[in-house]
Amino acid sequence: MNEKKEKLTYEEQTKITRTIIKAAVLMLEYGAESRLIETVAQRLGKALNVDSVEVSLIPSAIVLTTLNDKQTQSVTTTRRAHHKPINMSIVCDVLKMCYKVEKEKLSVDFAIKAMKEIKPNYYNNWLKIFMVALSCACFAYLNEADWQAFATTFVASGIAMFVRQELSRKKFVQIITFGVTAFVATIIAALSQIYNLTATPNTALSASVLLLAPGFPFVNSVLDAVKGYLAMGWGRWMQAVLLTAATSIGIVFALTVLNIQGW
């Protein structure tokens, strides 16, 4: 084992470093928490026979160094992370790949090949629209809405989810997507109040924008902050606040257009 370590050439170590940072960037882009990213990078490094891996995380980039040959030979590299829609199946696949490399002592080539083969597990778009619409309607039910409000929420959030998917397919920035989606959802839900379709319009309105709740950035920010990654925590919290602000602007704009003055 020790001899094998000393034989690691500079080129080989660069290849290993690039593989590890590829895994780390994939996890950061698709929404894993910081501790998971750091431990996976270190475990991969150990499994691929480098002495140690040091990771520095900021919300938009990763700096990663591998040290080898009694810490005298080091390779450092940086990658920019572009924020993409949350996708947990990719994070799970990277984690499983790391686990496999660790358990079966596989080579770096396997890791590269496995990461190339990762395909996101997309659900059917119409199924997603139906499920999200039903989810928001159920949320309205849990908040004591009547059945008319249930139906209104179903329609409003279904159409809003369709708009959201179309906008993210056209690669709009998330903030614009959230604002426009909130606008559409509120307009449709507020129509039920204007035409007096329901006795609980408030619940219908708040439930139909539920699909924009930034759950992942928010929970990840708390998880990061309490585990000592304060900068990452702030970054993700800011992201959650920005998305919420975009949603609020959409709601406010819709209510202004329809000239509803609260209740």
Partner: protein, 156 residues
């Protein structure tokens, strides 16, 4: 008694559906969808139980999300899946949607009709409830995994 049981079962079903729906938005692997549904039901029903025992909604949310965190910790070690896959879908039914929305409406009203003491107190009421419930969710989910950090080894 029977009506209480029926109410709990109905709530469990209606909180499992949002968990699955949002799990699909986050693209979780297919085999964990069912566990997300259980997580949502566990989270909502345990919060309702704590509230029936007389806890405030903030404290009940905190306990409910710690329970979800513990269950997710167990599942994630068993199936080797990161915890947020289960937890974030499960806490969706607990989100304080109504207070958050009312706070925004109060802000609009203050802007439109001028600031009055009633509007300010309503706004602070709703905003505080939103923030404290959200904080309860976040800390509740984080606590179970903090327990493992003292060994300094990864959870999954």
């Amino acid at each position: 008694m029977l009506s209480i049981i029926i109410e709990y079962i109905l709530n469990a079903v209606f909180s499992a559906i949002p968990a699955v729906g949002f799990a699909m938005v986050f693209n979780v692997p297919k085999e964990s969808l069912l566990k997300c549904a259980y997580g949502g039901a566990i989270g909502y029903c345990s919060r309702q139980m704590f509230m029936d025992f007389g806890f405030s909604i903030e404290l009940a949310t905190f306990f409910a999300s710690s329970i979800v965190g513990m269950v997710a910790l167990y599942w994630s070690r068993k199936y080797i899946v990161p915890r947020p896959v289960y937890t974030i879908a499960s806490i969706i039914p607990l989100l304080p949607g109504n207070p958050a929305f009312s706070a925004i409406i109060n802000l609009i009203n203050m802007n439109a009709h001028g600031v009055s003491p009633e509007l300010i107190s309503m706004f602070i009421d709703n905003a505080l409830r939103t923030i404290i419930v959200l904080g309860g969710i976040g800390f509740g989910l984080a606590l179970p995994s903090l327990y493992y950090i003292r060994y300094n080894r990864p959870i999954v």
